[in-house]
Amino acid sequence: MTTTTVAGHSVKLNDEGFFLDPDQWSEDMAPEIAQREGIDELTDKHWQVIRFMRREYAETGTGPTVRVLGKTSGVSIKELYELFPKGPAKTAAKIAGIPKPRGCI
């Protein structure tokens, strides 16, 4: 675990850079986390996915996998990879301030 500062707030992250406490996240942190992940500008489509991740986490306790995102977020898997080239489920989870999706068992 590490403590780091994002957009002036002190937050706790795990070793892979996922938020440990999603309540520490606020929307103003997203652009800075996105830049660290190589995404210079968050478009409306990015925000659609980020907000979807937050909602899913609040409802189910885990972020969705890419496959579930493609079926339910309104953004196709191909498009998701264009938005988050390094892997939509993980990158969007990091930017949305939720723990690593636990989909894979």
Partner: protein, 417 residues
Amino acid sequence: MTHQIVVLGAGTGGTLAANRLRARYDVDDVRITVVAQDDRHVYQPGLLFVPFGLAHEVDIVRSRAGQLHAGIDYVCSPIDHVDLERDVVELDGGRELEYDVLVVATGARLVPEETEGLTDAGWRERVFTFYDLEGAVALERALARFDRGRLVVNVVDMPIKCPVAPLEFCFLADWYFHERGVRDDVTITYVTTLDGAFTKPTASKTLGGLLDEKRVELVTEFNTGEVDGKAGKLVSYDGREVPFDLAVVVPLHGGAAYVGRSPGLGDELDFVPCDEHTLQAKAKPNVFVLGDAANVPASKAGSVTHFEGEVLVENIAHYLAGEPLDGSYDGHANCFIETGFKKAMLIDFNYEQEPVPGHYPARIGLPLMRESRSNHLGKLMFQWFYWHVVLPGRDVPGIHSAMPTAGKATMTSGGAQ
């Protein structure tokens, strides 16, 4: 008053649940009806051996009805949907079955058509799966002809049944080509969506080491977007390509199709959300879920289903008696991992505890996380155990639902994913 229990599915879960319930209740008190879509019960762990000629269709298929105890009604029919509000199952053709308690045990379904190109050109010619009997049999013929080139084994995405099976396939392929004297002419590549060989960190390390030892190349975080059977390549969503001469693909899985036609029952992949400890469905208190059909953070595997079975029956009994549920499933799973050359490994774990070295089921027992001949014999013997002990719902001294810790070098994994 006679209670009606309807069990959907007659695979591992449906069969053992129905048999355990039948043993527990008098026929006058509880009527049990099992619904199955066909009468072919496949011993699924046997599918791994079919492509290598080590098992054949006749060895691993039996009648579903034949595995059910006397006093269980058996209906062979596809299911149209479940009406949760009316507590009714509607079968194809309109017949309705009313229930007081419903057990959903219809497993997982392969959905290869969800991956672009997978079932197009080359399907069952140079692109195969061994996850169903037809595919495993077709693959046996293809492997027998294959003596040089690139064999690629690909897991498209989780969840899949028996997450170790694709690795076992690689290990057995290494052995198989070695036996045929062509191992140096064949390359084997394991392409996975995961970031390592397996989901649990310690086991992932051990299994990754084994892949290395057996000269199986590992490609990770590969999210297959397209299988091009004509050109012979896998293409990932982020544009990477893996060429093949023969591909063995584990397709995407979903729950049974009727789950999707039953309002409120399933999730977006047609698995059924339930409490991970009591197995009671989130949709309604009189619905319970067992085995691969369940959306719980456990492997989709027969051992999970077996261990869940005890808890499920306890909780159904509590429910029918109007008592609070207290049976608690801990996520216990174990599996033999065939590693080729007549050896196998054994892993044992639950929701909290990742696989560690030691012995199972106690200090004196089979070695964990290490290749041995005894584990290989254990794997072979398990088929007998499956038909004669697991399915009939018999209890075995020393083997329990809750994961044992006595023989283990235990430590709780910090947030194992």
